[in-house]
Symmetry: C3
């Protein structure tokens, strides 16, 4: 399966420079590509590689093309965003190469008679689809996926093995859910019902029933072993085109705004709202009941304890340094009030001297 | 299914004020409730909503009732803890509304002939129950749950899909285990068996067999994708009514005291003991071989490296601020010893001047 | 099943002192052992327990043996590393005691006709093995394990229930993968394809296809619910004898050097390289595209944002202290620039006075 640059540009756009009939059959980095490869320049610091690459054609933007020493005799597809263009072409090559799963329900799956499964859907072995669930066109449910009663999976979605989606949830079109993710587990809510103090305390925690669901917009990706809890009364909401990495926890009643990306190991406590186009770094923790505005960026490992409404970059993480050096700073930090008191005393002494000098 | 206030108070307690024959069929927040709803006042700051609510009846405590402008003509159930009361009533309504699972073993489940499964238990599709396991009355094992050999699941427990409980573990009565949780995985223990240093080092890590189990008391809830390791020689122990959120790691040989709650993404290293009635915030990390006393509260994102025996609130987390501001503080923190040295120099200079002045 | 010290030393090495025909049938700690037990001294601080133990024999190194008050009349196996020796003997006892799984494919498993499964392998219920996968000798795949197309599982490996290994991955010999772990999920990569700013922004994130795999060397252990993403173009690589705890995230294109151990809840961002013999503490976060040299140790909860090439111990975590005390330090930290300005002002004042004094 090889394609001419003409065929590629017809499908994905861009202006061809060079031989429109040149055929490529795969993609490769600039420094590893041969005549059968399409390469791309996403970062201008690799511009010199464009001059030396053996690639059959290079995806490039007009600005970078203008900087080239000698573009003559080579092939380009000029596009404003070569990286996104590369991603789209790569996906198309992969789709062509991947084995086609046969539509239908595997005989080892358990699909309730009242569930609606589109004829084009691929339902793998040991999948469970409960009563009233709706599985859209071209959905793929891999082995051991569980879809609870009344849950709806939008057309074109792919749930990888061992994913659990509880009852009463909705996934939009083209959802990608990596293996082991859990959607719709009970939010963490308990009413304290204790009397007495200390050793005399009796009573228990009473579970607050979690009767909301999870509503997920179109084009959302959810990482492996990530967990998204159902709402207590209303739904937890993930808006369109949100991208969530692995091992992320999203608690009940959160709302994550469209196009926001959340890196691995982040945790977002209950009833927090995150705006659109935010970037939440890895292992960030965000407290419950706070609001992040649109375009807020939180750097990796930071903690957010109150609302941050203004767009911009926020941080509370220290980078690791040699242990002995760190311990010295940490000890001084714990005694910062003593340093401040010494400054105060100095200020008083200097003021007294100055006064004395004046007098 | 609607119930009179009389019927509700007979089952759940409390004193009725108003029309004992009024019927409610569901619950709702004060500001959204109609005559068919039971609402509740848990936080006095919403007291004014009680005056304007359309709810058929309001759960309230005696103190708040006394503060109402005009309670006449409306219905109340007076109870010391309206929030816990609400939770119990809500659960009862949900239990009535939920489809009843039929007791029995799904034909797609694999139950060893030597396992004991109560007749009232509901065993879902693709469930595996190994030899000698004991599944109590009214237990519900959802799709793809794995119960290892000799493991005991207490009466009334509910294990959601894709939960794994290894061999030789015990879950108490009424356990709730959310999807994807793992109980009884091997603790992380390896003996170093290396000789030589640097590039000349040879040898390997030798796995320490983990032959303890996990013992979990009654009324424990365990969150989605949470992991609890089995003990090395003795058991890892989770006492009664402990509530654990999603993506929490509890290492081998820990003991978590009764009624303690642990929020999402927390990690507790091996052989650590946590007291009763503690509250461990989200993403907290607790080192191994330390002890937390009863009633210890650790705020979110803090790290605990040594024992904290006294009840109270402990912290080591900074909240995120604007990146530029943070960097300024972080740079100064790294040079705190230089600030201290400048203070020292000033103190010497001022002392010299004072001495000179005196002289 | 009891063994003479002779039999044990023949298999595992070491020099016997005392009665070579004494039989032991199990292992126990020094202070709990009886004549039927083998005990061990790994930490010299328990040396006095060796004098009082009832153990049938004690594993000890030559240095500690020399310190004993009265070794006479008791049995020892002298070995340089009693802890590793204990681990190996314990494993042998466990292997003898554990029920033997019958080789073969469970009738409730789904193995593609083109997959190669060794005759000695044990394939549990609801396991899925896709086309072209290769399952080595003595491999054990527990219930609900998924092995994707073309993936190879090395001889002697054990995958616990609900583990997912995507297509195109390779696990070396003797891998141990705890329940719920995910290997080969898509790396988190998206090309931004947006135009406009603020509310006028349009476009989307374009998924970068992840066409690399995961390559895992021999003797690797992977913890419960840990996730290891496949590479974008090349493979994510885990070298031999790496040990990874629970709930760890390893992003695409990372390379983890041989013998490195990674504790629970750690997260390692994409394209990061970690050297050999490193120790990564619990809940450590490591940024993407950085390099850690060999023998680097990162203490628990620290964050690494740049390369650390020199062997040694690195830290950026604070231990929790009482909340009020912490808040005081945190407030001063935020105003450290003001303290510095006050020091500057003092320095100027003192200099002026000194100058005045001189003048």
């Amino acid at each position: 399966m090889a394609f001419t640059l003409e065929e590629i540009a017809t499908r994905f756009g861009g202006d061809i420079i060079g031989d429109r009939t040149h055929r490529v059959s795969n993609l490769a980095p600039l420094d590893q590509a041969g005549p059968e490869h399409l390469a791309f320049l996403a970062n201008p610091k690799y511009l010199s590689q464009v001059d030396t690459t053996q690639a059959g054609a290079v995806l490039i933007n007009a600005d970078d093309l203008a900087k080239l020493a000698s573009p003559d005799g080579r092939n380009f597809i000029v596009t404003p965003n070569p990286y996104a263009y590369f991603a789209r072409v790569a996906q198309a090559f992969i789709d062509l190469a991947a084995p086609k799963a046969m539509p239908g329900v595997h005989p080892g799956a358990h699909v309730d008679a009242s569930a609606q499964v589109a004829a084009s859907a691929v339902i793998g072995p040991n999948v469970t689809v409960e009563a009233g669930a709706v599985i859209g066109e071209n959905v793929r449910l891999d082995a051991n996926v569980f879809v609870g009663r009344g849950t709806r999976i939008g057309a074109g979605s792919h749930l990888y093995p061992n994913v659990t989606v509880y009852h009463g949830c909705t996934l939009g079109e083209r959802a990608i859910v990596q293996a082991g993710a859990v959607i719709g587990s009970d939010g963490f809510g308990f009413a304290p019902d204790f009397v007495g103090e200390g050793d005399a305390r009796t009573g228990s925690w009473v579970k607050i029933p979690q009767v909301g669901g999870v509503t997920i917009g179109p084009d959302v990706e959810i990482g492996a072993n990530t967990t998204i809890d159902r709402g207590a009364m209303a739904d937890t909401v993930i808006e369109q085109c949100v991208k969530i990495d692995n091992l992320v926890q999203i608690a009940h009643n959160c709302r994550i705004g469209a196009y926001t990306v959340i890196a691995g190991c982040a945790g977002i406590a209950g009833s927090t709202t995150i705006g659109k186009h935010c970037m939440i770094g890895g292992a960030v923790g965000i407290a419950g009941h706070v609001t992040l505005g649109d375009y807020v960026i939180i750097t990796a490992k930071s903690g957010v304890s109150k609302s941050l409404l203004k767009p911009g970059l926020y941080t509370s993480a220290f980078p690791a340094v040699e242990h002995a050096e760190w311990n010295k700073s940490a000890a001084l930090l714990r005694n910062l009030d003593k340093l401040r008191d010494r400054i105060k005393a100095l200020e008083a002494a200097v003021a007294a001297q100055t006064g004395a000098g004046k007098a």
